[in-house]
């Protein structure tokens, strides 16, 4: 199953500007403490980590736990000095993996 991913990065920015990046990914984030209809505990199935790489340099990494709401929505900031590409990667339980990328023009 592929996850739906949305990333929001401004298309243009001034050199040295601090920009906001928003990311949203569809995922159940099953915490591993809930029971199903037949009373069995549903096994944990969460995204454990999200990273953002900008021009091959890691600028942001977040470790997630079962206490993060389903469909993790994460916003953060970064300073941009050159045009380039943001590469986002989510990894999680049961070999979950999703990627996205966004370009920015820095003037």
């Amino acid at each position: 199953m592929t996850a739906r991913v949305l990333v929001n990065v401004p298309a243009k920015a001034q050199r040295g500007e601090i920009i906001q990046i928003k990311t949203l990914i569809s995922h159940i984030m099953e915490p591993g403490f809930r029971a199903s209809h037949d009373g069995k505990i549903l096994p944990r199935d969460i995204i454990t980590e999200m990273t953002c790489i900008y021009n091959e340099k890691e600028i942001f990494r977040i470790e997630l736990s079962p206490a993060v709401a389903s469909n993790p929505f994460i916003t953060f900031h970064t300073r941009v000095n050159e045009s380039g590409t943001f590469d986002f990667k989510w990894t999680g339980d049961n070999g979950f993996e999703a990627t996205a990328s966004a370009k920015i023009m820095v003037e």
Partner: protein, 154 residues
């Protein structure tokens, strides 16, 4: 007159026992001790100062399944003075950890938001680790009307 005061006492008494019952139910979840243990796990024996960190979280939450939080840290975010990591912990979810956020000087400003789950009315703690090895923290109290993720376990 006499009867009224008895009724009042009775009500008061039932209120106290309800509170005791609530306490008994909560004892099964992550405790202040496990919160402390989780904090010591990341901070070691370092002293944790109050301040510098701001935790934005609604004081009254209707739905514990999705609670928007935002953490900001006062820091110039330069190459010599920046926030390395921000940790968020809670008191009464089944596990004390919420998120660990790794930043660097290139972040420009330490301002991150995420949506979390809260199983109960509780304290949420945010701790920032700066590049000089110092720790700063803040605490927020949240009241949750509909709890997250535990419906099957009650």
């Amino acid at each position: 007159m006499m009867q009224e005061s008895t009724r009042r006492e009775l009500l008061l008494g039932s209120g106290v026992s309800a509170a005791a019952l609530l306490l008994a139910v909560h004892a099964a979840d992550a405790t202040p001790e496990s919160l402390q243990a989780a904090i010591r796990n990341v901070a070691g024996n370092a002293e944790i100062g109050k301040g510098k960190v701001k935790l934005d979280i609604p004081p009254l939450v209707e739905n514990g399944n999705t609670v928007p939080i935002s953490v900001t840290v006062e820091s110039p975010m330069t190459a010599t003075d920046y926030v390395k990591t921000i940790y968020v912990f809670n008191e009464k979810n089944p596990q004390p950890n919420v998120v660990a956020i790794h930043l660097g000087p290139h972040a420009g400003k330490a301002d991150v938001s995420v949506r979390i789950r809260l199983a109960d009315s509780q304290r949420v703690v945010a701790i920032a680790e700066l590049n000089d090895g110092s720790f700063w923290s803040t605490t927020a109290n949240v009241i949750v009307t509909v709890a997250a993720c535990l419906e099957g376990n009650l």
